[in-house]
Amino acid sequence: MSINLTLLIVMGVLYACGIYLILERSLTRVLLGLMLLANATNILILSTGGYAGLAPFFTKETNPDSYSDPLPQALILTSIVISFAVTAFMLGIIYRTWVLARQDEIQDDLEDVRVAKTPSFDAEDDAIVPLETSEFAITPSSTQDRNHPEATETPNSSTTQEGGSA
């Protein structure tokens, strides 16, 4: 198999630019990077077919050795269509990101950030256990030891409701 040097260089440049771009935080650049990667891959598939030759199946007299390999071209067609659809979809969600958040950047996962910031102290497991663990303790209930503003309000109302229904 022989390889076209120009195509090879173009492919290398496209890959390099594509990889550089997908490492950015800006979504539009990431999209451009993905498009470059897809096109570089198409060139790679094309170059597996060897040098350009005659059209296959055109006339019966053509020498089989001078044909281009048709299979890589069929593969490229499919992959172009697929990357076209994916690019359109990505443009759609990038626009949607812009509408929702007014920025063109990849946003951090809030839950990830929260887990990363969680201290190793766990209120339920690591707090000092009160001596009196009976449900009918006279001491104030343990919910008040935790200093969560919401937790102190709602449980009281619910306990009265539950008591009433029982």
């Binding site: 198999m1 997908i22 979504l27 990431v30 993905l34 990667l37 897809a38 891959t41 790679l44 598939i45 170059s47 597996t48 299979l71 890589p72 593969l75 499919t78 992959s79 697929i82 659809a85 994916v86 979809f89 990505m90 969600i93 990038i94 949607r96 990101t97 929702l100 958040a101 990849i106 946003q107 996962d109 809030l110 839950e111 990830d112 887990v115 969680t118 209120a123 339920e124 919910t143 935790r146 969560h148 919401e150 937790a151 709602t154 449980p155 109302s157 619910s158 306990t159 409701q161 539950e162 229904s165």
Partner: protein, 522 residues
């Protein structure tokens, strides 16, 4: 005419159904009937396929009149037909669940009219990936299911879903590009992309080229299967999607990646060249995944991490490349698809009843809704591998195969598998204690929905029914574990032997290359 020649219908039926459902976009009832009917008939067809393969052996179907080394072939063997049946059962249950949710909620959060056609296309992509015997067609199958999954992931276009969707799309596209590069290089090296033909021709290449192509394929599939260093995207993106979508993604999509890895390891690059790195990766996937699960307080995220962690078991079974190990891995895949999906469906129900999926905001669900507690408890214990459930049997099979292999690394993995199983139990028990066992008012930030007395979040019967059906199916895998193990061991034997696959595609005259055995790699 052979029954297996109907196998293209497993892909065609869902696609035609999607077109029909799309035409009926204004008639929701008709759309529901069409999509459920189509999936049921696909399931029926695939049961017939499983039966015909089980009795008649591996069969291939040539498409479009192009003979095998040139055209696209579909190959039905025991492994692919088993995967088809399990995936269809799961996707049908999820579809019914989603229909119930859509009827209960209207389509504010999730536009149901778009959901049905997209969902059917996803199923078609999954079936295509399981059936195909052509490497590029496998890529197309992946793209069909991925593109459908992009739409499902960002359904409704809300902020968190778009954020998660961007990560998911970018990672998936990069993995697809890697896969495509690998295909191009394989074509350049061998001049063919039919998998059976590749099995013969790849063996003629020198070892360095083989290793390069092998690693490229494994990396591309590893991203899709969420194997440890490449699994970062999964817990980030899955939990934000609607409950039924997360359920079907968790059950099926990663398993398609695992399926592709199994085919790479058994058919294209058999032998034990990469077994040691695969085992190390499997160990890391199991342990790191489950440690991640322990840190989570959101049930969906926790389950996503257990999903990553349990992929490690399958890679472990695959890396042993023995009949016992691979058979147990196949069994484990079938078990895990069912259990993981039912857990995500139950989490959707928990979210409806308790108003949240965070274990800091839930409590007392065991008393409020005993049925929900039962539906969670059974698959959760199944996932953790408590006897007598199928999770226990699958893990037992893997551990036995590991001990049988007996290399120091395999023993380390056996220990790692046991530890992971125990840690899974710990993670699940944490959810159980907090969301189900304690009193609602003990929750750190009790959700208002939870504290409202009365039946505010009454669960639609269709949703509970489909979840219960899937849980029962998971239990049935336990009851019928004997026959299932027979099927999975049988499929492992056929896959490791390779001759049935290659002969069914290329004819009996082709000589199957001997397995390369470089025992020094161990």
């Amino acid at each position: 005419m052979n029954l297996a020649s109907l196998s293209p219908l497993a892909v065609l039926l869902p696609i035609l159904g999607a077109a029909l459902a799309f035409l009926l976009i204004r008639h929701q009832t008709a759309q529901r009937v069409v999509s459920i009917g189509i999936l049921s008939s696909t399931l029926l067809l695939e049961c017939l396929l499983l039966f015909s393969v089980w009795t008649g052996g591996t069969t291939s179907v040539t498409l479009g009149g192009w003979l095998p080394p040139w055209g696209v072939v579909l190959v039905v063997d025991q492994f692919s037909s088993l995967m088809l049946v399990v995936s269809s059962v799961v996707s049908l249950a999820v579809l019914i669940y989603a229909t119930g949710q859509g009827m209960a909620d209207g389509d504010h959060e999730a536009p149901v009219s778009i959901f049905h056609p997209t969902y059917l296309i996803l199923v078609a992509g999954v079936s295509n990936a399981f059936l195909t015997g052509d490497l590029f067609n496998l890529y197309v199958g992946f793209e069909i299911l991925l593109t459908a999954s992009y739409v499902l992931m960002t359904l409704g276009g809300t902020g968190p879903r778009i954020r998660a969707g961007v990560t998911y799309v970018v990672v998936s596209v990069v993995s697809s590009v890697l896969f495509l590069i690998a295909i191009a290089m394989i074509y350049g090296a061998t001049g063919t992309i039919t998998m059976a033909d590749l099995a013969v021709k790849l063996a003629e290449l020198d070892q360095g080229t083989q290793n390069l192509l092998h690693v490229m394929l494994l990396v591309a599939f590893g991203i899709k299967a969420a194997v440890f260093p490449l699994s970062f995207w999964l817990p980030d993106s899955y939990p934000t999607a609607p409950a039924p979508v997360t359920a079907v993604f968790a059950g099926l999509l990663t398993k398609v990646g695992v399926y592709a890895m199994v085919r790479t390891e058994t058919l294209l690059f058999p032998g034990d060249t990469l077994n040691v790195p695969l085992m190390v990766v499997a160990l890391l996937t199991m342990v790191v995944g489950i440690l991640g699960a322990l840190a989570q307080s959101d049930i969906k995220r926790l389950l996503s991490f257990t999903l990553v962690s349990h992929i490690g078991y399958m890679v472990f079974g695959l890396a042993m490349s023995s009949v016992a190990g691979l058979g147990a891995a196949v069994f484990y895949v079938a078990h895990h698809i069912t259990v993981q999906t039912s857990l995500f469906l139950v989490t959707g129900l928990i979210e409806r009843r308790g108003g949240s999926s965070s274990i800091d905001r839930l409590g007392g669900l065991a008393k409020l809704s005993p049925l929900l507690a039962l539906l969670f408890f059974v698959p959760a214990m199944n996932l953790a591998g408590i006897p007598p459930f199928s999770g226990f049997l699958g893990k037992l099979g893997l551990l036995q195969a590991g001990v049988e292999l007996g290399t120091p690394l395999a023993i380390v993995l056996v220990v790692g598998g046991v530890v992971t199983s125990l840690l899974t139990l710990l993670a699940i028990a944490r959810v159980w204690n907090r969301a189900f066992w304690r009193k609602p008012e003990d929750a750190e930030y009790p959700d208002p929905v939870l504290l409202t007395p009365g039946n505010v979040g009454v669960l639609p019967r269709t949703m509970v029914g489909s979840t219960a059906a899937l849980v029962v199916f998971g239990v049935a895998l336990t009851v019928f574990a004997g026959p299932l193990f027979q099927v999975s061991d049988g499929s492992a034997e056929i896959m490791l032997d390779r001759s049935a696959y290659i002969h069914s595609v290329l004819g009996d005259s082709v000589e199957v290359p001997p397995l390369p055995q470089n025992g020094g790699a161990k």
